[in-house]
Symmetry: C2
DNA sequence: GTCAACAAAAATATCGATATTTTATTTCTC
DNA sequence: GAGAAATAAAATATCGATATTTTTGTTGAC
């Protein structure tokens, strides 16, 4: 009897309960491949797997304690998400990052999120308002405690994510929401990498409040304007920090040579 | 010595030269998994693999004469492209189609293609104009020969694809182009399924000409208006044909029961 | 010393076999 | 006969081994 025979391919681990806590819940994971997908995805977005890093199967196998087949499947999926780049017979790597890409992603996110917001505000019912208010207050509560530990930063990302999601939740276009989510995640990778400390700045908190109020007032134009500023500023901050980051790496490379 | 030993995993087939002819060329295929990805993708978009169809590995293995591993990898990639739906421990299926989805995709394609067009017209240089003119004339030549055989229809799709691509080619947002392409492909699946014969109608040909001329005149607003009508009409035709298609299937199901 | 040809090592892509889960079928009970 | 429980069949997900390609390292020629 193999080790897995007792509890199936996907045996429970302590980490699994954490999914529920740190939720961006997406239904239970039924296969190891799904777990591999989630783990890799999180590590790429969080920056734990650095941009440009060569993803060798053996390395990932030991890192996650999973077999090669599920990891391969996860990498294939991530390549279509544009988080991993497959290179023919030459393995794969974490998609590199660049200032130009940061700008592009920021603009794209703006385009999609603004459109979704407009529709959502038009469609939202009472239930939507309630969920939005809840998400806003959770986020605001955290933002009031200014001292941002490293844990708080991750939690802030989650709450921020949920607030933005709640804003557009009443949008009835599945495709628009799907693409918005894609760009939000791509954007998040940049936010995390550049460790935008400005994250909990009073400005951002105020923008969140303005967004919230405009949404409840059903003032779509106001909300759109605020959202555009909001995303624009985030992007600017990211680009700014990231440009320095790139310079620093450049310098480092020169020093090595 | 195994069968593959003489020519490597990916041995040449007669079908391979066809890639170049029926081109949406994407670089040479270095692995069987890539070939599987392309084949499956084409068959899903063309409708050869029907929406909702359960994709059993064994069936695909014999259909394409490939091993299970590459097929599995292809399915994983297609799931992130939203052409295949993975269902936990229960295999996968071709993503189903619906009238609502057709509308959603049409609107999304409109949003993205219009935005890309605006930027492209603003940026396009002489080289862009030349390529656009070439694409337009190839398409127009075909559209003049009204008698649309089944082969012509596939060729029309290719030329239409290339014309639209040429229009937005000068857009400098990689992400916008990527997403536009995604929606174009999704839209194509609906166009093909509903076999929109209206495809070569005088109207559409005229719209193409109007698009072409507005683009060369750098009249972005005009081009955008035409594009919106153009995509809107295509979507309407698709929705119309597809709605009947759905009704027919409904009726069929009742008759069976 | 540099470059090319060659050999050794590492890593990938693929296959075939196995364990597991789902689905279909049969058997039993009422 | 209908429905539940048990069983058999089919299909999936995963593993371990193998073939192949890429990369690295070495040797020899100039």
């Amino acid at each position: 009897m193999s080790k897995a025979a007792r509890a199936g391919y996907l045996r429970e681990t302590s980490a699994m309960s954490e999914i529920l806590v740190n939720m961006r819940y997406d239904g239970p994971e039924r296969t190891i491949a799904e777990r591999a997908y989630r783990l890799l995805r999180e590590d790429i977005i969080s920056g734990a797997l650095a941009p440009g890093l060569k993803l060798k199967i053996e390395m990932l196998r030991t890192r996650y304690g999973l077999g090669a087949a599920p990891i391969r499947e996860a990498l294939a999926r991530l390549s279509s998400d544009h988080l991993v780049k497959l290179e023919g017979q030459r393995g794969c790597e974490v998609v590199p990052m660049s200032v130009a890409d940061a700008r592009d992603i920021g603009n794209m996110r703006k385009l999609l999120e603004v459109e979704a917001l407009r529709i959502s505000i038009g469609n939202g019912d009472e239930e939507w308002e309630n969920a939005l208010a809840a998400a806003f207050h959770r986020l605001e509560r955290l933002e009031r405690t200014i001292d941002q530990g490293i844990d708080d930063l991750a939690e802030w990302e989650t709450l921020n994510h949920q607030f933005h999601k709640a804003l557009v939740a009443a949008c009835d276009s599945a495709w628009l929401l799907r693409m918005r989510q894609l760009m939000f995640d791509q954007h998040e990778r940049y936010r995390r990498l550049s460790r935008v400390k400005t994250v909990a700045t009073r400005d951002i908190s105020l923008e969140h409040r303005a967004l919230f109020e405009a949404a409840l007032d059903r003032d779509a134009e106001k909300a759109v304007t605020v959202m555009e500023t909001h995303i624009g500023r985030t992007t600017d901050a990211v680009v700014h920090t990231f440009a320095r980051h790139e310079l620093a790496e450049e310098a480092l490379r020169h020093k090595e040579a």
